[in-house]
Amino acid sequence: MALKISSAAAHRHQGFIFGVVCGLLLFGCMPQTKVSVHDKQTIPAPLPARKPSELPTVKPDSAQAQAAEALVDQGRQLLAQGAPDAAIRVLERSVALDSNSGLNYYYLAEAWLMKQNVQQAREFNRLADLHLGRDPEWKTRIDRQNDRISTLGH
């Protein structure tokens, strides 16, 4: 049986039969609706952006520490764009390269604060204090950060 609906003049009868079959099948299919083959999943909305504080710089003393500092800069920018997850990934890499600078820990605390994770924020704030706490200016900022963490904790 040859069926072709685009050339109706030449195959009117076949077209008619095809139409009937389709109509019947369509009727049979009516209770169901058209479906999409794709699964649907939602992504959580990003957290609001927050500007990082203006902070004094700590001079790195090796190629590795310089790379770590470049990553801290990237992390700061990502935080400024309100992307704490991406910032955390970058700052973690910075820790792997140079865990003595303390800057990476400070910004990790900031990122976790942005994600409202008090426990992680507190741990990294403590580590930042350990490495930068002797610098009076940094000490002030770390203490302020700790206050914000405590406020969030309450």
Partner: protein, 768 residues
């Protein structure tokens, strides 16, 4: 009569119609159920970590080129013009980077030039803008996949990603009237019938794309009338329920397009990667026609099987496209002269099999093994493929060397062979960079890093010394005299393995650890208090029991190697215990983030204590049981500890820099003796591994933290040498609150006048 005839005609018509409606309704439900569920099992893919490059890093050109090759970059003669190309020249390497697409990060590919100087990266710059880059990240590398029982590889693509040329080529090859028919094509069927009749055999099929889909999803391949009718009805139902583009998308993702070993290549997305190492959106007209041509019979038209036949089929597809006016004549001519350039077949093997097993175990709480083989997840891990490769090679060669030097270690049965295991961790983050759980995964899947429990021997001693730091200092004297202890009513007398310390009644704590002195370490544990020592090991979270027996000092209690490596991270990482991390991100098949794991560290001891233990472990390498490391000409400094258990059943070396920590274990699964110490069996494997990963060895020393002070003390008494006549004063480090405050009692005070005269003599060269 007429009425009767009509009645007899109507009854069967109504019955047939009812039957068709019911059958259509039944099929409709079946099709909807099948298509609304996940259509295919898509194996989850595991990726390594990204690779970080920066100026000053120890990474030579060849090593970097090897890394890029493993990422699929192709070497070209001239400057790289397209993504995935690279050029190796004298003193520099140029690469056109691929796009970096990882969760929460997207960097478009761009051309870069890396200059090298004496095995280090000198500079990194963008070729197009000239911008100097402080840091560069390379995309992650595929490590392996979690296959289901079907062993299929499939990269799902959306119809929107498929270029028009591939759509047209597929239609030209398989169903040129696809957008004009309603599930089956009578003209096509008649044409096939005519061609087959003339040929006297089946040469051409009349199945539309929709029919092929119905057959693949719902029907068996047998050739019967009833099956063909079913196929026709189903095709009509599919066409009624779904739009053309949806049907084509399912088809393009479903079709079988070749074989890589035992793994089937399904769908155009995977085929583009398999044949051309390209994303589907990037393939050329000629490549699209090649893929479309393969559909008919992958075993016959695959370029990996017969390139010439593949080219002829491609040309036929191109000409069919041209005949339909889907491509212009110049396009046809240009495509026809294109050679078929494939990327080359590489076996679908797991690159880090023990790590993959460990991962699947780690993922168990989130995804079932079945989910891993069908959901098409992307799992981004911490693994560094270069470190993994280096660890595998070092272990393989090290065990072979050992078997060559001690012939009795050789075993014919693969299951009985000498074994070894290596794990490499970043101590500050806990990221697992490499894991080798045995010498041959094919012979034994038992992961000796995560599953075995072995006595650590002397590799446990640093924890005994740490426990003592609250009372003693590295300069404190410990007894080296033979002593018998009662354990469970039985006498036990620890003996020293090293003969060089025999004869000395006491040794300093530093020397005792460096030389792995058993008597002194047991003496230390007893001085500290066994209960106290056990209590101090609790925060290190060993899962195996550690009991307050004197033999604990010599590592008599079994540990899991991964847990031992993690515990050493506390010393290397300045006092923080990291959670071992293998998985960073998991995304679904649309790239949506499902879960993330982050750096999770816990402060266990002060940076000062961690530094003092590390400094003592540096003495192990510089003058103690691991001093053979100096022969390897490695750019230290390193800290580490050897370990050898009773009857040489286990040989260990755990060594680290501020940046990387590696644990090596060597032994037999059945406990047969290795007949070699940790220094002889495990240390060379560690050294070879470290030598081949210069990118992780910066040469930076451990940074002395606050809370540590240095003093000159008498090497015999361990007390202050200032102002005394001690013959061998040495510089030692102390915790700030544990500095000796007493002068050395063994040697008299210096005579100030005599010192002055000696000083003047020195000035004029009067003393030899």
């Amino acid at each position: 009569m007429l009425k009767k005839s009509i009645k007899w005609l109507l009854i069967p018509m109504v019955l047939v119609s009812a039957a068709v409606i019911l059958y259509g309704w039944y099929l409709s439900g079946r099709i909807e159920k099948r298509f609304s569920a996940r259509l295919w099992r898509v194996p989850s893919t595991v990726y390594s970590d990204t690779t970080l490059l920066y100026p000053g890093q120890g990474f030579d050109r060849k090593n970097l080129a090897a890394k890029l090759e493993s990422l699929g970059y192709r070497t070209v003669a001239g400057p790289p013009q397209k993504q995935g190309e690279m050029r190796l020249a004298k003193g520099y390497l140029e690469a056109y980077l691929n796009d970096l697409k990882i969760p929460a990060q997207h960097r478009p590919g761009n051309p870069v030039r890396l200059r090298f100087d004496r095995g280090r990266i000198k500079s990194i710059e963008r070729i197009d803008t000239g911008e100097r880059l402080p840091i560069l990240e390379l995309e992650p590398e595929e490590i392996g996949q979690f296959y289901g029982p079907e062993r299929e590889r499939r990269q799902l693509v959306s119809i929107r990603q498929v270029p028009p040329n591939l759509v047209r080529a597929t239609l030209a090859a398989e169903d040129s009237r696809f957008y004009g028919h309603h599930g089956f094509d009578p003209v096509g069927i008649l044409r096939a019938f005519y061609v087959n009749l003339r040929a006297g055999r089946i040469r051409q099929g009349g199945s539309t794309i929709t029919q092929q889909l119905a057959k693949n999803f719902f029907l068996t391949p047998e050739r019967t009338i009833s099956r063909k009718l079913n196929e026709l009805v189903m095709s009509v139902v599919i066409e009624l329920k779904y739009q053309k583009d949806e049907i084509l998308e399912i088809y393009l993702n479903d079709i079988y397009l070749g074989q890589n070993g035992t793994v089937a290549i399904d769908g155009v997305g995977e085929a583009c990667l398999f044949y051309f190492a390209k994303s589907v959106k990037d393939i050329s007209l000629a490549e699209a026609a090649t893929i479309a041509g393969i559909i008919r019979a992958p075993g016959r038209y695959s370029p990996y099987i017969d390139k010439e036949r593949c080219r002829q089929r491609r040309d036929a597809v191109l000409k069919a496209m041209s005949a339909k006016n889907w491509i212009s004549d110049p396009e046809l001519q240009a495509a026809l002269v294109q050679p078929i350039e494939t990327v080359g077949e590489s076996a679908a093997v797991k690159k880090a099999p023990y790590f993959m097993d460990y991962l699947s175990h780690q993922l168990e709480s989130l995804y079932s093994p079945d989910d891993l083989t069908r959901l098409g997840l992307a799992i981004y891990t911490t693994l560094d493929t270069r470190v993994q490769y280096a660890a595998e090679q070092a272990l393989y060669r090290g065990l072979r060397r050992l078997e060559s030097s001690i012939a009795t270690l050789k075993r014919a049965d693969p299951a009985q062979k000498l074994q070894g295991a290596v794990v490499v961790i970043q101590p500050k983050t806990g990221f697992i960079l490499a894991m080798v759980g045995g010498r041959d995964y094919a012979a034994s899947q038992y992961n000796r890093i995560t599953q075995s429990r072995r006595q650590p021997g002397s590799a446990f001693k640093p924890f005994i010394y740490l426990a003592a730091l609250d009372q003693l200092t590295p300069a404190s004297r410990l007894s080296n005299e033979p002593r018998t202890y009662m354990i469970g009513g039985r006498p036990w007398t620890p003996e020293n393995a090293a003969q060089e310390v025999e004869g000395e009644t006491s040794v300093s704590m530093r020397t005792a650890l460096a030389t792995s002195n058993n008597r002194a370490t047991v003496d230390l544990a007893m001085k500290t208090g066994l209960e106290q020592v056990v209590e101090k090991t609790v925060p290190f979270q060993f899962s195996t029991p550690i009991k307050p027996y004197p033999s604990l000092a010599l590592g008599a209690f079994e540990v899991v190697p991964l847990e031992l490596a993690r515990a050493y991270c506390v010393f290397a990482g300045g006092g923080t215990l990291p959670h071992p991390l293998s998985i960073k991100d998991v995304t679904d098949d649309h790239g949506r983030l499902l879960s993330q794991s982050h750096l999770n560290i816990e402060r266990l001891i002060s940076p000062a204590k961690a530094y003092i233990i590390t400094d003592m472990l540096k003495s192990v390498v510089s003058e103690g049981t691991a001093r053979a490391l100096s022969g390897w000409n490695l750019p230290g400094p390193f800290a580490g500890k050897t370990g050898t258990t009773n009857n040489f059943r286990d040989a260990w070396f755990v060594g680290y820099t501020p940046d990387i920590l590696a644990l090596v274990w060597v032994g037999f699964d059945n406990g047969d003796p290795v007949k070699a110490s940790g220094a002889k069996a495990a240390l060379p494997i560690w050294a070879e591994l470290v030598k081949t990963i210069p990118q992780y060895i910066s040469g930076a020393d451990f940074k002395m933290p606050d809370g540590v002070v240095a003093r000159t003390v008498c090497s015999e008494s361990g007390l202050l040498a200032a102002g005394r006549t001690c013959p061998l004063p040495i510089k030692e480090i102390f915790l700030e609150d544990r500095v000796p405050d007493q002068p050395c009692p063994l040697h008299p005070a210096r005579n100030a006048i005599k010192d002055l005269i000696d000083g003047i003599k020195d000035l004029f060269g009067g003393r030899p």
